[in-house]
Symmetry: C2
Subunit: 144 residues, 2 copies
């Protein structure tokens, strides 16, 4: 469904948000340990998230990654996914046709509408805040 990079990106962002609630910055090392991901690869993904303004980075000593506290409740899961995997999962044809719409549908076009709508709703209605709070309270987990 999502690429490995995207999976790491979502988990990393959740962890950064959780730490940001406590005004703490985190390093790729700490993040990759916490979400069980390869460190250097995770660092690349963090760079992409910074470029897409999902998270902030602070260079130099005592630096690290963070998210403004006020911003955490405004970030939707969809933004994280789009930053890494793009919008293909929303817009692309389920069977890979270049052109696929009501006028020229692929064989599963109509069938797929509900799945895509549900996915879209899920990604648009889920906020980073609730995901981070569930991790914080031990309701959900980032690894194992």
């Amino acid at each position: 469904m999502f690429s490995k990079a995207c999976e790491y990106g979502v988990k990393a962002t959740i962890f950064i948000a959780m730490k940001s609630f406590e005004n703490k910055r985190v390093s790729p090392k700490e993040i990759s340990k916490e979400i069980n991901s390869p460190q250097a690869f995770t660092a690349k993904i963090l760079q992409a998230l910074v470029r897409h303004n999902v998270i902030d980075s602070v260079k130099g000593a005592y630096g690290g990654f963070k998210i403004e506290k006020a911003k955490i409740s405004t970030i939707k899961l969809s933004e994280i996914v789009k930053a890494i995997d793009g919008d293909g999962i929303y817009k692309g044809c389920g069977l890979g046709l270049k052109q696929c719409d009501q006028d020229h549908p692929c064989p599963v076009h109509d069938k797929f509408v509900r799945v895509r709508d549900e996915l879209n709703y899920m990604l648009e209605s889920t906020t980073l805040e609730e995901l981070a709070l569930n991790i914080k309270s031990g309701t959900s987990f980032l690894k194992v």
Copy 2:
């Protein structure tokens, strides 16, 4: 969502079903032309579909691929997808956790349930027959 191999596999199977209604066998060459896919790669996918008993092959002169007419209405889209991509899309965790269930859920576990259910319903309730008939009637398309 699905791999390229799976996309080709679904389209190829639909085309074979359509031709099988007319008691015609088809070759990888004809199939790849019709669904706009690389021929040799498509042939590999057809082999996998044969091994999984989704389609039949007839070797030698005047051979080709086909599906028993009576079987076409009994094949579900899910069987084609499972034959090529496996059941990860049904069973795997949305964020790639090895263990992810109600007792130890990933951050999007609950959110994902509806998406997966919708996808599952779609794949289980769609038959090869209806997909093939829609192609035959020009209601949907296999390429462009």
